[in-house]
Symmetry: C3
Subunit: 311 residues, 3 copies
Amino acid sequence: MKFPRTHTLKEIAEILGTKYVGAEDFPVLGMNEIHVVEPGDIVFVDHPKYYDKALQSKATIVLINKDVECPEGKALLISDDPFRDFNTLTKHFRPFQSTNSAISSTAKIGKDTIIQPNVFIGNNVVIGKNCLIHANVSIYDDCIIGDNVIIHSGTVLGSDAFYYKNRPTGFDKLISGGRVIIEDNVDIGASCSVDRGVTGDTTIGEGTKLDNQIQIGHDTAIGKKCLIASHTGIAGCVVIEDEVTLWGQVGVISGITIGKGATVYAQSGVGGSLEGGKAYFGSPAGEARSKMKELAMIKNIPFLMEKIKDK
Amino acid sequence: MKFPRTHTLKEIAEILGTKYVGAEDFPVLGMNEIHVVEPGDIVFVDHPKYYDKALQSKATIVLINKDVECPEGKALLISDDPFRDFNTLTKHFRPFQSTNSAISSTAKIGKDTIIQPNVFIGNNVVIGKNCLIHANVSIYDDCIIGDNVIIHSGTVLGSDAFYYKNRPTGFDKLISGGRVIIEDNVDIGASCSVDRGVTGDTTIGEGTKLDNQIQIGHDTAIGKKCLIASHTGIAGCVVIEDEVTLWGQVGVISGITIGKGATVYAQSGVGGSLEGGKAYFGSPAGEARSKMKELAMIKNIPFLMEKIKDK
Amino acid sequence: MKFPRTHTLKEIAEILGTKYVGAEDFPVLGMNEIHVVEPGDIVFVDHPKYYDKALQSKATIVLINKDVECPEGKALLISDDPFRDFNTLTKHFRPFQSTNSAISSTAKIGKDTIIQPNVFIGNNVVIGKNCLIHANVSIYDDCIIGDNVIIHSGTVLGSDAFYYKNRPTGFDKLISGGRVIIEDNVDIGASCSVDRGVTGDTTIGEGTKLDNQIQIGHDTAIGKKCLIASHTGIAGCVVIEDEVTLWGQVGVISGITIGKGATVYAQSGVGGSLEGGKAYFGSPAGEARSKMKELAMIKNIPFLMEKIKDK
């Protein structure tokens, strides 16, 4: 997430009421989570285990709960609660704004795009040309949709990340300020849900087709020309490369990568990254051919029991 | 379900056109299903197998299809079809009322609560303070929602129980007159569905967080501070105790209890009650560590086959 | 799909700009996919592997990409791209028409039917008597709904088939021009999706009851008095015969038949046709009793390993 203009380190520290280490005019361009940071970004870290990772990331401003040594060319924001302060920044730069009309006056809708009745389109949404948005679709603030996109009824784009910190007082939500990006020629079926990124984007690549009732988590990037069948659930921060096929009721754990051209058969549970170009099956998923052979082997156990008895 | 005022046995018998056994002014306070009955309630029973259970329950009025001996301190309503007559009472005391405006004039909405466009809020709904109800949410009659609750688009609260009696003429629906109760600080993701209780309540406890596309059946009680991931389905009359975590695409059969602090891994199928404090996996689900060991064992079958061949 | 009036072969050829083989007044009554064709229908075929099947089907007009010999009593439309030209015909005879009001003026709604707020009802929809359509339901063009039908919030009837041709330029969609037919006394839960047929109908039979979050693919025919539990997904072109029970989170592959009175237990994956009157379990599903025995056998592997070691 980039801020509308460049801020200084001092300005950000004043928003948060925190101390800072670095030049007061050190430039701050935006904020992001560790897996998508770029120079100019603030990243937050609140556990000693991850201090080094955050300090050595591409982020140039580290929001941290210890007065550590500041790396060369970087700046620090010292906070007693970086998680809370990261949320404060999200709320400051991407405040939730209620919408009085079902289609926000700040939404931009391209030529020849059809919006059916009872659709909700939030603030700053951009929809391209020649799209068809069916009835009762909900498109939250800041979503970006390309050309020739079809979205079926009941689908929700831009709901919050399912991301909480477990505090003694209860689950504390990491506020979502990111976006959903739908590229050109994508079809999305009925009653799908696509969560926005926390600070980055959740993306569905050009020409990809989604069936009904699919769930896609925050900050997940789906490549071009993928096919995803009904009831498949993909967690957050997943990378699905181009031309991947996921059949029905597949589950994909967070943070992994499925390589280009891979196929995952129905009801499989993907618990780790998968190499491209191959077919997978099972829960947990393995290469389809060996997994199927393995499962067929179960039928041999009675024979083995019989044989053993004879010995 | 409590009635708006106390009725007499005679009044209820007149609504139903049935005979009764007991004092004509025997007090009737409400009606409930066997698992949630209290003194003053009507319970119904139409199968000899369950007569004793109903007659010995806490309910003090038994709607029954046989002229049995009336237990001390109780009353009977004798009906040729207790299921039909129970439905008659539900329709009498909780008649479905269509709503002409999208937000019923009888709904009460708390201070600083934001209702986004295209939301439906039915009759007698109560929503607390500081909630955010996103676009295209549907909240049926009589639902009660606490403070600081977030509900994402497409979610449905208060749909009917999936509960039918198989008659020669077809499935006969047990009419739902219960409620959905959402306690404070609950988040509900996009496109979830929570069925109302048949006569009692379906409850989601304080601080619990639901991801997207989750299904929760009638009369189910979910504890405080639970985490439930996407595409998980929980059947009716389930008890999920506090601080339970259910990962994605888990299925839970009706009528069971999952103990406090239990964790169920993704795609597991819970077919019986689970003790608290442990981790579970598989379909049917067992303790995670032994279940995973068990599944890993399958890889040994080819070795066993080879060994046996040698003998 | 029947056309509003009978056309001549020449008229159709002019719409498509193709050559034709046969009498110029050869009658054309409609168009259909291979599995539902009738005399008078156009069928399309673009792969030599399926030429014979199409030419020998009940369809009397074959839209084909080779100048083959025309079977007796039939006619041909010779096209360089039958898939594209079939789509051209669907767009010609069933053009998508946007709807300005949430309930189309061409929809017919029966006596005593209640339509709750924020419902979308498309063009030419017919709804019978005494139905209850809850808030935020979406019913696309041309759907036909019987009497005494209940549809819960968030449900979508008539979304497009998930059906694409893989072209070098991307996935090319087979346009859906078929319908959804819901017979009398059907209940449909919250947030279900039922795709329309490509040219034929997707049908849910009399007295069948659907729980929440269910997905039903294009051209699938569900029989009478079936019970289908939550999160079950049924692919396209499936036949579910009468009185079938599918428990929760079941997946059913496309093109197969589940016989009358069969029961499929929760989380099963149906990968082939199933005989009626039996119970099934597992992924892939087998007869429940033997499948459960088979799975229980896995527990014996450690014993076998121990025994083998001793030898």
